[in-house]
Every structure is written in C-alpha cells, then in structure tokens.
C-alpha cells in the first residue's frame, strides 16, 4: 500500500516537474519562408528572371552592351561603341510588376507585365512549394523600322510592327548558393522583315546562378532558339551570357560577356548575329537601383 502511494507520488511528481520546465519552451515547429528572389534583379543576364518587384518598389534598370571584343585595340576591344537600354519597373502588387524600356539598338520601345503565379517556399518539413513560376508578356516595337515602313508606304504600320513575347519562367533555388531557371518562350512577329520569314519563334532559355562569396555570384545564361531564320542576312546564333553580379542593399550590379546586342527578348532571341565562341562577345553591364515609392514599413530614409 505504502509502496503504491510513494511510487504514485514520485511518478506524478516527475510528470509535474517535467511539464513545468517544458511549459515555457517553444515547439520546434518549422516555419514557411518564401523565397522571393532565386536570382537577383529582373534579368539574369539576357533572360528575364522569376523575380518581381515588391508592391510600391520602383526599379531603374540601365543596361549596356559594348562592341565585340575581337575588334581589337583600335576599337578599344569594343568599348568604343555602346548600346544601352533604359528601363523602369514598378511593382503594382507583390506579385504583379509592370515595366517599360527604351533601347538604342533599333530604337526599340518595350513594355511588359510580369505575374508571379507561384512562389517557392522552404522551412516546412513537408508541403513546401518546390518552384517559382512567373508569367511574362511583353510588347515591343522598333521605332526605327516603323519610320522606314511608314515613310516608304505613307501608311501607319504601328500594329504590324509589334512583336509579342510570352514566357513562362520556372525557377528553383536548390540551396542558398545555387539557383537555376528555364524560360520557355514564344515570340510572335506581326510583320516579318522579309517575306517568308517566320512569324512565330520558339525558344528555351536557361540560366543558373552560383553564389561564390558574400555579395558575389556567377551567372550563366543560355537560350536555345528552335527555329532560327534561314533567310536572315547574317547567320543567327543562340544568345549566351556569362558574368558576375554584386548585390548590395539597394543595387544590383551585373558585369558580363554576351554575344547579343539587344537587351530585350525580341532582339537577343531573333537578332543575335555574333558567335560567342569565335571571340565575338561583348562586354556589358546591367545596373539596377531600387527605390521604395510606397514603403510598407514607414520611417526609413536614404540620403
């Protein structure tokens, strides 16, 4: 009898004390963390990335492509000639971004809409979203070509001159160091340059990012174009890019070598005439600066 009572007391006592020490501890439950930027900036090198701007974030994007490196010392390895694109991007909502841009190559205007359908998550023991999927649609036209067409025919060719790009961008961050993405692309030209050229061009973009150390990462970007135009004056190549990027709290700097001149899909997927492996690569850089127009967290300031 006494034995029973004592054991009960001891037993219950241990339970009680165990419960008390435990009561202030937190469970080891995992939490859902969204990976909002598998890549840095709106593009990897040429291809669009799955990133979208935050709501109320305005990004100014300046892209530069210089001449080909094999032009030699007289042209200062291509640095004498420069092609640039000035772009602005604004986050309407956390997952919808609009952008506009103007390139010097071909005097192109472009406008685009990006919608993030799915965001990769980590942290949960099960039920994580494995991929980020962003839909991208852009409309672009060359005002240079428009002017030539209009003057030749005395007719407005604006609608005929438009080129549409549709992409589904799929990215996955495998670890904090390594991300990759695929961009299945459709480009539609309302009016081709020469009769008999293709109206629809299919391409598959791919890109990867390897974080090297701290702020520095290595980017590789390659797009395979399925149906390159055979009729084009110059032989067409697939755009390839390789380069480094540095990220700070408000900037993304990208320095790279690529064989494409244009910075928008319409140009680099259908109009790349340089062979990367024959030294016809160009030095280029992209600078992204983000400004918070409508801050979610008020009170911060930069001078």
């Amino acid at each position: 009898m006494k034995f029973l009572v004592t054991t009960t007391i001891v037993f219950v006592g241990t339970i009680t004390s165990w419960a008390q020490t435990d009561s202030l501890d937190f469970g080891n439950e995992s939490e859902r963390i969204e990976i909002r930027s598998a890549f840095n900036g709106n593009t990897v090198i040429n291809s669009q990335s799955t990133n979208v701007s935050d709501q109320g974030q305005l990004s100014v994007i300046i892209g530069h492509r210089f001449g080909t490196v094999n032009e030699g010392f007289y042209n200062f390895y291509g640095l004498d000639e420069a092609v640039m694109r000035m772009g602005f991007e604004y986050g309407l909502y956390d997952n919808i971004t609009v952008g506009i841009g103007r390139s010097t190559a071909g005097k192109n205007y472009d406008g685009y809409l990006k919608y993030r359908l799915l965001t990769q998550t980590k942290g949960l023991s099960s039920g994580n979203v494995p991929l980020t999927i962003t839909l991208f649609a852009s409309t672009a036209f060359s005002s240079q070509r428009l002017r030539i067409l209009n003057e030749a025919d005395d007719k407005n060719y604006f609608i005929d001159n438009l080129v549409y790009t549709y992409q589904t961008i799929i990215s996955r961050q495998l670890s904090s160091r390594f991300s990759f993405q695929l961009n299945p692309t459709l480009i539609h030209k309302n009016l081709t340059e020469v009769e008999g050229q293709l109206h629809n061009i299919y391409a598959l973009g791919s890109a990867l990012r390897v974080k090297l150390k701290g702020k520095l990462s290595l980017n590789v970007d390659y797009s395979y174009v399925w149906n390159k135009d055979k009729i084009a004056v110059n032989k067409l190549y697939d755009p390839i890019g390789i380069g480094f990027e540095v990220v700070t709290g408000g900037h993304v700097f990208k320095l790279h070598f690529t064989n494409s001149v244009g910075i928008i899909e319409k140009e680099f997927l259908t109009n790349t005439t340089n062979n990367f492996f024959k030294g016809e690569m160009r030095f280029g850089f992209t600078l992204l600066r983000s400004f918070i127009v409508k801050p979610k967290v008020k009170g911060g300031s930069i001078y």
């Binding site: 009572v5 009561s23 937190f26 930027s37 904090s176 967290v297």
Partner: protein, 207 residues
C-alpha cells in the same frame, strides 16, 4: 510524507474501503497540477517589434508582427523568440535579403531569443499599470549576452499589455558593419516591442 500521514490518520478513522481509494484521489489531485500550472502561462504569438537604426546617411526600419513569447506568472519566468526571417524592411526586399544574409546570417541563426525572469514581484492578476524590469539572456547571431530590459505593463482583466524598448549594439552580437557602409548602417538599433499576453489554456489552444 504527506501520503504516509494521511494513511496513519485514515487507519484510525476510516475503514479499509476508503483507505484503498486514497491513492486514486492522490493521483487525481497530483495529475491536475500540471494543467493548473499551464493555466498560469501567459503567451503571445503576434507581438509587434520594430527595429530602428539611425545612421548618418540612412535610417533603416524593420518591422515584424510575429514575436512569440511565454510568461509564467507564478515563477515570473519568461521566454521570448523572434524569427529573423519574418521582418519587413523600409527599403524592401533587397535590404531584407542583405540583412538576412550578411548581417544576421539567418540560415545559421534563425531566431533571436530572450529568456529570463521578471525581477519585480508583482501580482499579474491585479489590474493596473506597472513599471518592471526583466533580466535574462538575449541571444542573437550565436552570441548570448546578459540583458536587463525595463518594461511597461498594463494589466486589464487577465491580459497583460507590454511595451519594451531596448538598444542593441551590433558589436555585442559579433555583427560587423563593412567599412563601405559605415555611414549607412547604424551601430546601434533600437528595438520597440508591443504585445499582449493572454492566458493560454493548453499548448494546443495557443495556435
């Protein structure tokens, strides 16, 4: 000891039938104790926290509404935890990523915690305004530091509203500011916390 005494008394007064029931009653009483003590735990999972660092060239603000905390009002012991990946920053996603990767190293140290005791002996069930101090270990970025934080409490009908302010020096927690951004990232961040503690009946009901 208590059990033995009860038996001695009971043998003289009660018959054998009631005596057999005593251990059962004891078990019943003792097993309720853990539940009673759980009733004295006050907790929150949605505490607001705001970090403010004013440097010469930049003011950085970060906010979160996910401070978790538990307070045992009998022992006055508490345990608070903030997930560092759940802050929003004044300069948006790039700044958040910068802070998480280069300063906090969230992958290695996901939480900032504060564990300790309320020094002042106050009755947490009595309505009123109190100014108290809490002492404990503030851990962040893999560094444990002793910290004493003064709190303002307002107790209204069983819920405790808390406001606390504390200055965190980054150097105390082995967070280095690169020389390039020394004018932009403040060495000291002021943390403002506001939260409401409510009694939690059982660990399941908390969520």
């Amino acid at each position: 000891m208590r059990g033995r005494k009860t038996i001695n008394i009971s043998t003289s007064i009660y018959n054998e039938f009631t005596m057999k029931k005593i251990p059962v009653i004891l078990i019943l009483i003792l097993t309720t104790i853990p539940f009673l003590s759980n009733g004295q735990i006050y907790s929150t999972t949605k505490g607001a926290i705001r970090l403010e660092g004013v440097a010469q060239q930049e003011t950085i603000i970060a906010e979160s509404k996910s401070l978790e905390g538990k307070l045992d009002i009998t022992t006055r012991k508490f345990n608070f935890r903030q997930s560092l990946s759940r802050f929003s920053f004044s300069q948006g996603e790039l700044q958040k990523k910068d802070a998480e990767e280069k300063y906090w190293e969230v992958d290695k140290y996901p939480y900032a915690t504060f564990k300790g005791t309320v020094i002042n002996e106050i009755d947490f069930t009595k309505n009123g305004d109190y100014g108290v101090a809490a002492k404990g270990i503030l851990s962040m970025h893999g560094v444990d530091n002793e910290a004493k934080i003064s709190l303002k409490l307002k107790i209204i009908d069983g819920s405790i509203a808390v406001h606390a302010t504390y200055k965190v020096f980054l150097s105390d927690y082995n967070i280095k500011i690169p020389r390039l951004v020394v004018l932009k990232v403040s060495e000291v961040f002021e943390a403002n916390c506001v939260f409401l503690l409510r009694p939690s009946q059982s660990p399941i009901a908390e969520k």
